[in-house]
Structures are given as C-alpha cells and as structure tokens.
Symmetry: D2
C-alpha cells in the first residue's frame, strides 16, 4: 500500500499546472464572454505550445503522439487540466474526441486508423459521438430508433440524435444504429463512422443548452440522418457490438470526467478561499472569518479528498484488472463525484454572492454546464441501480 | 382560523391563470431562445390585453390603475404569474419596478409622483434601483462608497453600482448614496431619483450573468455615476433615511418573490409529472413508475405546500400588523422558500435528463437565474442570522 | 383567510402550557431515569389535577368527559402537551388509547361503549392496538397472518403481533385479524376487542426498543394469540371493514402525532437556545455566538413554522371536509414533519455536546424513541408513494 | 501508488473476521439485552482465545504482547473488529485503554510502565481518561477547572470530570489537571495517573447515556476529585505538557475510531442487504426490489468506500510523516466518517422498519451510542474549523 503519486507523474503535473495557470487562466475571460469559435485560432497556438512542450494528449500511446500514461497517471493530469474550462481542449483531451480516439485504437482497422484516428490524434480535426436520441430515454441505451440497413455494400442510416457534443465543426461522427433488429437487445446496435460531409447527414442545430447554443467544440448538436449512405467498411468493430464498444469507451471516460470534476472542485475551492479572504463584510472582518464559510471550506476539502482517493483507486483497479472488474467502482465514482462537484460549486458560488452569478469567474459556467455531470454517461439513478444490483447479486449467489 | 383563500381572489386567480397559460406559455420558446429586447413589442400587446381585462398591476391602488389588493391577496396572483417567466413583466409586477412604485407611493412628493410614479404605474417607462456595489459585500448594506454631495441646489453623485436589474432601457434610477457621512451607519444614506439621461450617469454594461448579458428588462446593469448632478428635490423621502426606505421596499418584495418562486415550483412540479408520465424508460414502464421520481414528486409537493402556508401567513401578518412585526417571518420565508425552489428545480431538471439542460423547457432558465434567489435581497446566511438574533434576544430580555 | 388561532383555544393553550411547565417538567428527571411503572401513582395524581382543572382529554366529546374540541383546536393542545414526554399521558391523550377511543365512539355498540369506552375515557384502564406482525412488513397492511375463525358464537383467534404500544398493563386489545380470507384484500380483516385476561391471549414480552423494554404505558408489547376465544359480539364495526376502520383511526392520529412532534421541536429549540446562551466556549463568548449554532436555530425556526401551518391546514381541512378529502395532506405532513423532527432533534442534541447524550435533558429520549416517527403509522416511503400516486393519477384522469 | 492492502494484513484480517463472526456475533443478543457486567466472565474467555490465537492487541509492540502493526495495517483490523460491538473489547483494543496504553508507552517512566502499562497491555486491568468537565465546553479543551496543587511531594487534585469511559471498574485514571495556572493556556495542564482506590477519588455515577447508565467497560463515569492526593511521581510526561500529550493520544485514536465506524457501516450495510432480500413487501416482491432501498445501498457503498480510502491515506501519512503532518487529514476524516456513519446507520435502521428500533439487531445500539461519534474527540464543528483555518493560513503565508 502506497499513496505516493507515481514518480514520473509529479514533474508532469507541475509542468501542466504551470501551463494551465500561465497560458490558459488569462484566456478564461474571453472564453466566458465570447463564442468559442472566435477563440479557436488563439487556442490553436496554445495547442502548438503544448505539443512543443511534449505534453500533448498524455493518455495517447506514443505512436499516436501522446505520452502513453496509464489511467492512474493520466488521472492526475486530467485533474490539473480540469482547473480551467480550457484545459482539456488545449491538450487534446476533450470529450468526445478522447473517447473516439480510444475506440478507434481498440477497434479501428488500419484504414480507419489512418483516415480518422491519426488526424484526430494530431488535433487536426474533431469528431462527435451520436448515441442519445431525443425520443428515447438516454438512461436506457437499448431504447433506440436509429437504423442502419444494408444495401449493396453500404449502410443506409436513418435516425435522429442529439447531444452530440462538438458536432459543430466535427469531421465525422461515430453513430450508434440498429443493424440487427432481431438480435437480443444488447446485440442489436453497431457503431458506424459517418463523415460529416456525407449526403443525408445533417446538423439541425446546436441545441440551446443552459442559455445558449454555443459553437464549435463547445456545443451539443442535434443531428438528422436521412437515407445517409456510407460503405459497410465504415463499421467500427464487430457488428452488433455497439453496446459493448460503448461500454469500453465509457469506462476510462468516467475516470477522465471524475478527475476533471475534481480539478473543477479544486479551482472552485481555491476561488472561494481567495474571495473569502479578500471580501470585507464589516469594518473589522472578512468573509473568511464567518463560520459558515469555514464550514464550506472544510466540508469541500474533505469531500474532494474522499472523491479523489476513490477515483484514483478505481483508475488503479482498471489499470490492474480491466474495466469489467472495476464496474461497480466506476458507477460509484460517477454519482459520488458528480454529487461532490454539485455541492462544491454551489458553495463557491454562494460565497461569491452576486459576483458568483457573473461571468467574471468560471463558477457560473461550471454551475450551468456541469449540472449535466449528474446526467450524461448515465444519470445518478442508473449508476445507483448498477451498484445496488451488483451488491444484492453477491448475496443471491 | 380559516384557510380558505379570500373570496374575491379566487375568480381573479382563475382568470390570471388562464391568461398566463393561453397567452404567455406560447411565448416562452421565444423568450428562452431570443434576446428579451426582440420580444418587447409583442409583450406590449399582451400588456394591453391585461389592462383591457382589468388585471393590470393588481397590487397597485386603484388611483394608480391597479386592483388595490392587500398583500395576502396579491400573493395568490404572484404565484400564478410566477408559473411563466413572462408573467410578472406582462402584468407590470416585475422587480425592481414594483418596489420602486411602492416607495414612490409611500415617500414620493406630488411632483415625483407625477413625473415618475404615474408613467411607471402605466407601464410607459421602466426604472432601476442602484444599491449594490461591486467593491462592497451586498450582504452588509452599510458598506457603501457612493456619495451624493450637496452643491448649490444639487446633489453631485459619484459612485459605482451593479446588479441594477433592468437598467438597460430604464428611464430613471433610484440611487442609494451617502449624503451624511458623519451620521451613524444606519442614517448615512439617502435615496435619490436620477433620470437616466442625466450627464454623468453611465450604463457601463449589462453584466454577463449565468451565460449572457441579457437585454432590456431582462438584464442587470453596471452603472457609473461620475459627477452626476441632480436637483436636491430629487431626494426621495427624508434625508438619511435611505436604509429605512430600502427596508420598507424589501418587506413586501420578499413576499412577492417568495410567491413567484412558489409559482415556479408549481410549474416545475407540473413539468416533472407530465414528463415522467410520458417518458418511456423500458418497453413496459414510464419514468413515473420509478420510486425515485415518485419520491421527488411527493417531497416537492410537501415542501411547496409548507412554503406556501408560511408565506401566506407572513403576508397576512404584514397586512395585519405591518412589516416590522413580521420581520422574523419575512427573513424565515426568504431562505426557506429559496431553498425549496433550489431543490424542486434540481429534481425537475434531473427528471428531464438531457432535455432539462436545454431551452426546450423553462427549467434551465430558472435553474440558472433563480440560483440568485439565495443571494439577492439578502443572502440566506444574513437572513438566518436575523432570525437567530431575534430569537436569542427574546431570551435575553 | 385568517391565521388567528381559534378564540377559545388561546386561554386553553395558556393553561395547558402552565400545567405542563409547572407540574410535568419537574417529573421529567424521574421519567428519564426510572421505569415508567414506578411513576404511575404520581402520574395518577397529576391526572386527577388535570380533571379537576377541566382540561381532561380535550378531544373527547363532553358526554365522555372531554372538551369536544375539533381537530384544529385540539392540534394546539397536542403541541403544548408534546413539549414534555409526559404531557399526552397525563391528559389521557396518549396513543394508542386515543385512537381506540376514537373508533369505539364511531363503531362501538352500546355494550362496547359501556364496557370499554367509558372506563378508557375516564382513564381508569388502558388499552392496546394489535395490528403489526413481526413476520410481515408493516408498510403493507394487507400482509397479515393472524386469523379469527368463527366457531359457535365465538371468534377463535390465532396469530402473532408486535409493537402493541402499552400492551403491558392494558385491559384489552383491539386486534386486527383475517375473518374473511376469500374477500378482496382490503376486505379480509376485521377489528375485534379482546380482553387481556382472555385465555390464549399472551403478552410474550415488552420488546427491547432503543435500549430497553420499558414498562406499562411506556412499552411496546409482543403478543401471541393462541386459540384465543372471544364472543362474536366483540367485533368492532362491520365485519371485513378492519382496514377502513384503521384508516379512520389513523387520520386524526397523524394530526395528533404531528402536533406532538411540533411540540417536541419547540422544546428542543428552546433547550438549544438556553444552552447556547449559557455555555461558554471561550473566555469571551458563548455557544450562541457561533454562526453554526445560529444557523441551526434559524433553520429549525423556519422548518417548525412551515410544519405547523401545514398540519393546521390539514387539520382544518379534515374538520371541514373529512379525512378522505385530506388524505394527500395527511400523508404529506406525516413524512414532512417527521423529517423536521429528526433534524431539529439532531441539531439540539449536537448543540448540547456530551450533555445531549445524557438523560439530563429529554433530548436523548426523544432522539431514541422518536426515531420511530419515520416508521410507525406508515413509513416515510409509503406516504411519499401515496402522495405521488394521487398527484400522478390527477394527470391520468 | 499501490492500493493493495499490505501483504501480511490480509491473512490477519481473514482470521480476525472469522473470529468475530464465529465467536462474537453469537454473543451479541446477550450484549444487546443484558448489562455488560454480566458478560465480563464470558468475554474473558474469548479474550483468552484471542491471545491463544496470537491476535491480541495487534497495535501493541511485541514487547507488550501485541503484533506491532503500523497504523495503516491496524486500520484494517480495527474495521473488522468494528463489525461487532464486542470486537474491540475482546481484542483489548477498546477506548480509552488503547489511548492510555499509547501514552504510557510514549511518556511513561519505567515504574509507570511496570505498574500500569503492563497489566493494561495484558488485559488484567482497565483504565479511564478524565479530561472533559461538565461545567466546561468539551469543544474547547483549554477551559478546565480541575487543579493539581503541589504539596510536599504530592499533587492534591480537586475537580469534577465526566464522560470518563469505563471508569466503572477501572484500576486507575489518567487525569488532566491544571498544574501551572499562570502558564500560557496550552501549557497549563498536566496528565497525572490516579489509582482508583486513592482517597478523594470518587465515581459519582455511571452517567445515564442514551437510555441507561451501562456498566463496567460499557459506561461513562462522572468523577469527583476531592483533595485527592497522589505522589508527584505519578506525573505522566513533562509537566505542563498535558495538551500536547492529549493530542498525541488523539491522533491515532481518531484513525482507530474512524476504522471502527467503517466496520460498523459495513455491518449495517450487510444487515440492510440481507433484510431487504428477505423481507416481502407484497406477494411478488421483496424490499430489495424497491428503488429507494437500492439507492440507500448504493449511496452507502460509495460513501463507505470513499471514507475508507480517506482514512487509510491519513493512517499511511501518519506512519510516514507523523501525526503533526497529517493533522488536517485527521480532522477531515473525523467529521467526514462520523457523517457517513450517521447516514448509513439511519438508512439501515429505516430499511428494517420497526425491527430496526428493537434490540434484535445491533443497529439500535449503534444508532444510539454512535451518535456521540460527531461529538467526542472534538465535535464536527471544531474539526471543520481546524481544517478551514489551516487551509486559509496557507493563503496568508
């Protein structure tokens, strides 16, 4: 038993932290007050700096330009990146590209790797993932209406998707569609790569989410597939294995998210402490002298630390024994850490008073957009059910 | 003891409810997806309809065009209006105009009433209230840097304000400024009417709040007063009585807000029930069959009902005994109802899943903007202190 | 709409309060540290004083020696009595006798009234109610194994019951038993009066509950019925109507309990304030100066007031429209007020520190025994389901 | 970074677990329903078995008969022992003896070790720790009235203490008393060993706590010291260092407690799962099918795991860097784990319904007595203040 962070990760963390604070914090006011699309050129420069510094896409294998960090090591980096809303994007660690990279590595054939994986790994293009449907509860992934019917050598896709993050500007989508309607419900769907310029692929809109549609990477697309035809060679992995592949994709993704949320929590706590020490509330005292604020700081500290150890353990277990062995842990961190995030952000915002409502700090952005943490990749309720079911099964065995 | 709603209020409530549902619900998609300023002409028509129907500004005395409802009766109307984010505006019941109307009635001289109160009561103009300062904690109103110095027959105002709701497009501001710096700390400030076209009055920006700056009534202004000169006749009420007047203004305002929040809660609960009954989560069940969602519905119902009786009692006590007698009750409802609002909105949003994050329902709007309910007009922490202090004092007596 | 307490109740409340404070508070140390049975003689004297003062059993009709208060008026008395753990007993308002009195009045025949109701109303005897069974979930009352089979003119009862409050020393039990096994599940059970000296009636034990078995009224009995034979004339109300009668019994009972809990809350808050003002935590400050404790006081005040208005409204509605019309309200108060009780007691205990753990205040007693408030008469989970079901049904209609 | 439990601890854990389940679970009904003193002979036999099995006092150095486990290893054992309310006692790991052993090892002279430490380590005697005073807030340890005045070669002790756990039957007390009234407030007190048979040492009572006074080890004593005279050689450690020694004592003690609480949580969760799978709630379903109960299971699982990693990390840090370096972590676990314990016990009790209130499971015992977890060794409020203060200081530096 050893709680020391892995040796090589400590200097990396220090360098990433410095980069985030020096290079990205100053861009936050622009991020918080402008369309993301207007920032893309500036962010491209920062991405080049990250590459030059040898910090690019640390979770990627070296052959794709990354550092090849195992999950437990990348976890530390993801936390650091999470301290700024720009961190993951600038290091090419943003969802959904990171998940798409992962499944392209695992399931892509050589052609797919060359065409999609390599430019994605370089950050030359972006991608999206089209799974959730407005007509079906996202909490139950086997409810799905989108179909991909074989005709000649093609799949002809028809369906309606939404919450395809970053669809605006994406070069391709990975689409979940029913290809074997008569199979059992976990083997009906497949994953298919669909270039965005395919006829019948339509980005209907960037969905207005928490106040606005956003743009580019910072958006969630509604997509229509209307007689959208791609060659059957665009199938990713085996047919009928769409759900399994999605699960493979989600396991590490939940670690990434959880550590990103912990980074957000740390920044929020830091902002709360700084503001509390600075803000006078009477002629003789500052906000930090108030016991209520002290309670918030202490409770946040304890919850964040608890959350971090839980996530690091889950990451370590995945590294050691694989995602399947760690599935209860992964469900447990998903709802536990999302809950901590919710509370820490709420306290930090409240401590800032009216200022917390403004775009003068990133708290308002996170308060809005990270509300989704309790929903995406499985809502809290589903993950609690997964955990309880496994535990109860162990008694029935 | 009689819990029956006042007789005349019941038919009024029914008519207001019908108007809100028939005329305002259909405008909500536009409200949620466009700048408020683009809606102003359409809303002006709705306002005309409200006037024609004899439902205008129900809290205003008949001589100013209202229905002269006492607080406990208006409370019921405010709840109904609260069910749509457009309700209060269309009935000329929106903050901060309703508070400004109140203090103009109580403290305005004839000239002030003619110039400011009457057009405001008619809805011909809008106004704002400039009290909070970015450099000072809003939770302690005696911390204030804005000054109004007498020169000749004028006040020369210098200072920096923010969160002046609706400053964009307002014809005048009521400004809190220090006029008697040497008085005791509760008698240093006065309220002064400042027309928006006065030289030295500057709307710096609509503050980006929860994702955007908004516009017109739906905005919060940052204001600078730079050698801004108004005649001393613009003083509202007695000099040095700014805090007392602000308190008078806030008492009924808190009832209005609390009942508006209860209206929001009712709508959120209604949206949650409808969505839960409609949304399939498996081939054989809908979301409403889930016990967790049932818990949310029941807990929300109980909390809302508890909140409503508390607020109606406080309103009734204010009507009977005045705001001072009810000050503990008013502080108690302020934080209690804001807390219920927070929880009910959170549950309703979660029940909607990804849909709850979008602008396809008003939940996201309320989730963002009503987060401020726990901050404005005194943060929770201040109201808890007020309640505790009074209770503890009763033992020391 | 009028929130003034009913006129005649105010002087009654004052007299009850004085009696409870003067006569019962001094007995609390004995109650908290001795077996209840040792106190019975002293409490009998207090009961005589209550009768002499004309305050006996205020909910009972005058023909049975009470004051004939409607529910909303008795509610105020129940709160006052609740401020001491001895209040209800000394005023002959204790469960389960009060519920048994109620159904004897509604459903008893003349003989039953003479034999059971009258001495119970006078406080000459006590009774118990045998419904819950250890082998069946109390949350689902239709699960029941106890049977009463007709033989000759008798019922022969066999079964196993527990949590028959006050069985120790009770003169008779009202027993729920299946008499019509083939009827639909809500019409299978009947209520039967069984004198405690009937052969085959056996008090197995006072169940050790929260640390000890208690005694006399302050106990919960486990009962066995073994070929226990009573004449069929002991049937209470119509055969097969056991559930309906139980419902009738529970409606007002929940009001009584909720107001008793509010009385407990008021006392707990009072104890917390007094201790906080007295307890030094440093050379210059007392516990009441701590913001955390102030928060507890304010949050408790707000919750208690919210709870009281909710309960009074439910009582008023029952008085006006009957228990059936108020069934959603009754379920809502049952879990809401039990939740408030839980939180207020927890805060008051915490504020007392180690002292709160001792029997030197009644807080520890309530903390232990009122934990059951969230369980008896239907656990929280059942009442939430009732509320949600009714609300959702209103949409399906 | 390695989350594998230390190699040698795993077989130990398995043996301890088996012993607790095989030998101690069967004694629980007696423990829950009888005075502790009646069980002492039987427990002495179990203690002999533990010794014979080589599992005695695992935290003690081998020279005192223990296994010499470092804190992080003993933590695992403490969790196992915590699964039964008898575990720690039977393995001679019970508070306050374990803390007294610790400071006797660190600060005792040879004579003290021979007279007090050795028989205590063997389990031949018990001891108590007299620090808290009824007249002073336990949350502020510098408030203390007990004095020890030097006369001749003696200390003459006068004072009033309570919550001296296990004073009933203890052979000696370690007493905190002011010996240097003029020193600064952290150097005024000393620790002095006082044999229980010293004239002037008086056990006033076993304090009735959560329903009863208990007995023997399972009790909390109120003590009076009245001109109680012991030789100055009974001073433990340096004079004036009483607080520092108490801190030394509390650091590891908090790890022990936290891991014990985690053991309680695991047992409570286990009992909840078993009951939920067994208890029918309708003809076709068991309690475990209810989503609310599933939520409780999942939330408990996540919280317990989070808590355990936090505590293991704090233990590991203490082993590596000492108690001082880990003081923020220790305060954080103290309130975090106590909070988890509170919630897990509450859920498990609620899931058991009426059964949870009885002594038929250990839940009621823990619900009552572990309420003190949020109070003893520093209430939550003090530990939150410690954590917040350190964090805020790091910004001021």
């Amino acid at each position: 038993m050893d709680f020391t962070p892995p040796a090589r990760v400590q200097p990396l963390v220090a360098r990433v932290r410095e980069f985030v604070e020096q290079e990205l914090f100053p861009l936050e006011p622009a991020f918080l007050n402008q369309e993301f699309s207007t920032l893309v050129p500036q962010l491209a420069e920062k991405r080049a700096q990250v590459k030059a510094a040898g910090l690019w896409a640390p979770y990627l294998p070296p052959e794709y330009g990354g550092l090849g960090l195992p999950l437990v090591e990348y976890a530390y980096i993801s936390e650091e990146l999470g301290r700024s809303p720009l961190g993951h994007y600038v290091f090419n660690c943003q969802a959904p590209d990171v998940g798409n990279l992962e499944i392209l590595i695992l399931f892509g054939n050589e052609e797919q790797k060359r065409t999609y994986l390599e430019p994605l790994a370089r950050g030359d293009i972006r991608s999206c993932f089209a799974m959730t449907e407005p007509e079906n509860a996202g909490s139950n992934p086997v409810l799905m209406d989108t179909t991909a019917v074989k005709e000649g050598g093609d799949y002809v896709i028809d369906g309606h998707k939404w919450f395809a993050t970053g669809a605006d500007g994406a070069s391709f989508a990975i689409v979940m569609a029913i290809t074997r309607p008569d199979a059992d419900r976990h083997h009906r769907a497949s994953q298919i790569i669909v270039p965005a310029d395919t006829p019948g692929y339509r980005l209907v809109r960037n969905i207005p989410v928490m106040g606005g549609p956003g743009s580019d990477h910072a958006s969630h697309g509604e997509l229509r597939f209307e007689q959208c035809r791609v060659p059957q060679t665009n199938l990713l992995g085996p047919e009928g294995e769409g759900f399994r592949i999605a699960q493979e994709r989600l396991g590490p993704g939940r670690i990434h998210h959880c550590m990103r949320w912990i980074g957000i929590c740390e920044r929020a706590l830091d902002l709360m402490c700084r503001h509390a020490l600075r803000r006078r509330v009477s002629s003789s005292s500052v906000l930090a002298d108030q016991q209520t604020v002290q309670n918030w700081i202490a409770e946040s500290r304890a919850q964040i630390d608890a959350a971090r150890w839980m996530v690091l353990h889950a990451a370590w277990k995945m590294d050691q024994e694989g995602a399947y062995a760690a599935r209860v842990e992964i469900s447990a961190i998903k709802f536990f850490v999302a809950g901590v995030l919710d509370q820490v952000l709420d306290r930090a915002l409240q401590a800032h008073g009216a200022l917390g409502m403004t775009e003068d700090t990133p708290l308002s952005h996170w308060y809005r957009h990270e509300r989704a943490a309790r929903i995406y990749d499985g809502p809290d309720e589903v993950h609690k059910w997964v955990v309880a079911r496994r535990i109860l099964q162990s008694y029935r065995a």
